[in-house]
Amino acid sequence: ELKVEQNPLFLSMQEGKNYTIYCNYSTTSDRLYWYRQDPGKSLESLFVLLSNGAVKQEGRLMASLDTKARLSTLHITAAVHDLSATYFCAVDIDQGGKLIFGQGTELSVKP
């Protein structure tokens, strides 16, 4: 059975601190996505990682993909309150756009 597991599921951070969210998956795939969701809102695409070793950065967020380890990370640098949201990773399991999502990581950044 395919599993996509994120940890931690809840993360409370202080502004200015660094942290990493992990996404492990149980099947071979070289396509992984990160989405952000604000409370009561839809999902917004953050990163698309399409090959082993892919690294993408946008502002204080950096995502990477290691397909051999079946692991993706979302690193947060010098967190600010505006980053408070739920972050999901999703794996394309058949290269055909069928995405399976992790449980989500609820991030709260406090002053």
């Binding site: 996509v4 599921l9 396509r31 996505y33 809102k41 839809s42 999902l43 695409s45 698309v48 399409l50 999901f88 999703a90 394309d92 290269q95 055909g96 756009g97 069928k98 995405l99 399976i100 999502f101 992790g102 449980q103 989500g104």
Partner: protein, 114 residues
Amino acid sequence: NAGVTQTPKFRVLKTGQSMTLLCAQDMNHEYMYWYRQDPGMGLRLIHYSVGEGTTAKGEVPDGYNVSRLKKQNFLLGLESAAPSQTSVYFCASSSLGQVSGELFFGEGSRLTVL
């Protein structure tokens, strides 16, 4: 700039009633999806479609039916609603010709079954 539009946004049903959620996209995407989101469980794929006239089951298809009669529309039906189907439903679409395979989501439809 409509993108992916879902109707209705909110609905309350009684157990056993039926309803249809409509998803419309104006991006000429080939692929369309229905997900449900429940607390602590992320998004789970219900059904998806890779083109007009085609549908396929996802992770949690039981209790739902879908139809894709037109390329731009993807309908999700509940024939006999159950309280376990209380959830937020998201429709998404993506392009076959897009290298990234990125999904574009609608705003969600919140369904409560009493």
